[in-house]
Symmetry: C2
Subunit: 305 residues, 2 copies
Amino acid sequence: MVDVDSFIDEKIDEIATEVGDENAVIALSGGVDSSTAAALAYEAIGDQLTPVYVDTGLMRKGETEQIRETFDYMDSLRIVDAKDRFLDALGGVTDPEEKRHAIGEGFIREFEREAKETDAKQLVQGTIYPDRIESEGNIKSHHNVGGLPDVVDFEGIVEPVRDLYKDEVREVARELELEEIISERMPFPGPGLAVRIIGEITPEKVEVARESCHVVEEELEEYEPWQAFAAVIGKATGVKGDNRVHGWVVAVRSVESRDGMTARAQEIDWQTLQRIQSRITGENENVARVVYDVTHKPPATIEYE
Amino acid sequence: MVDVDSFIDEKIDEIATEVGDENAVIALSGGVDSSTAAALAYEAIGDQLTPVYVDTGLMRKGETEQIRETFDYMDSLRIVDAKDRFLDALGGVTDPEEKRHAIGEGFIREFEREAKETDAKQLVQGTIYPDRIESEGNIKSHHNVGGLPDVVDFEGIVEPVRDLYKDEVREVARELELEEIISERMPFPGPGLAVRIIGEITPEKVEVARESCHVVEEELEEYEPWQAFAAVIGKATGVKGDNRVHGWVVAVRSVESRDGMTARAQEIDWQTLQRIQSRITGENENVARVVYDVTHKPPATIEYE
């Protein structure tokens, strides 16, 4: 990307030409990639674009409210409350691939319905350069709701930020005057908190993951991590009051990265780790243990599943 | 304990009186408590005491060889190779209580056979003061092979170090000239590596736990932890070579404590954590992630199950 302004002008022209007078949809996740692609496309084609935000119940704390506020200016915005349908579909599923599959299927079902209702012929996607590279190695399958074009019958796919790295997407987002909470936001995986929960997804685990992620985002903001979050990774023994309990183990992860393809675990001050530990075990009755992930990518991935 | 020398003299007299001319057995785990109790009892009654070491296959790296060397002077020492029997009994068992139960049962079976063969009427145990307190709250059930007296029919139980804290036991061990590797050794749980493996016990997980514990003990020796070890706590995604893998998550724990009843997670230098991480993921093909436990006791326990 040579120059942000010319990039934006060029992309707006391109999108307008590609879409023509047809309708288009985009799946909005709240992340910077899809938000930026949506904002570009909205500049280009206005309400011919329907941005669809599916609330799977696996979103970050306050995410749905944030989306509603930020994209309030798009009259065509649709917010779908699919929380119960996702929880039902995920009941009893423990295998990571099956979980991701169930989420992908559920997502496609919700999205397809909206696309059909708006008679959309064009799909806009927030795919970025590293997504395309990683899909080839099958490292991040389904993280960005791949597979959509195979199922829903679109005439064309528009990917305005497909050649950009994440930091370039942020530049575009800033130039488009998206709110800071969007432009500077950490990446968040497509399947949401589901990849931050090992084993079966239950309402209790989702709540622990969501609250713990919130604590980590707050406490580690000053470290300016590429991504910082918490995951519910299993159970282990603990002592609460005078009794032995079997409580959740929450893993905290904070990494530095330029593009997400490789990443370094961040060195975090011991006092900060202790504050995080104490808040997470204190605010969540059934959490007995907090661990800090010290592994780089590779050999670990950034997310847990 | 007022004075180590008088304590030792007094206990030797007491044991000799209590045991009389009967035979006695003690379960030797390699830890400082049972080793010290065994050494005291052997001073008192010589080969009337049969120290039984059951190799469950869940021992630390090199432990069996160490026992053989250290207690070489006791002619009555019995080393039982029960590795295969324990692995068989643990196959398919995932519930923590059932696992501990299977180990307890297996241990009693092995120990009972030896006790009967030697016609032992007295049981010597390395119970220490915090064990007795914790058993009352059910915090550390079966960690020290409780339940033995209920099953095997002994006429008496001798617990020479029952009123001591761990650091006092170490003083006695030094005075008895037990090798430093024993007297200064970190506590090791009765069920061995089993409480450092979440879920089913398999030969692969035992090997990962054993090798990882060894790395942690080596790298953290200079921090003089009360206890430092590694646990295999689950699976998560990773990248090895160019491919996505589903590899083990190894948790590293290092705590400071006076008596094990409460403990503080130790602040470990980032470079050291990185060296541990890199050795564990490098030396164990199927480990994708290393996390460091930052939780104190309470709310976590020291061990994981």
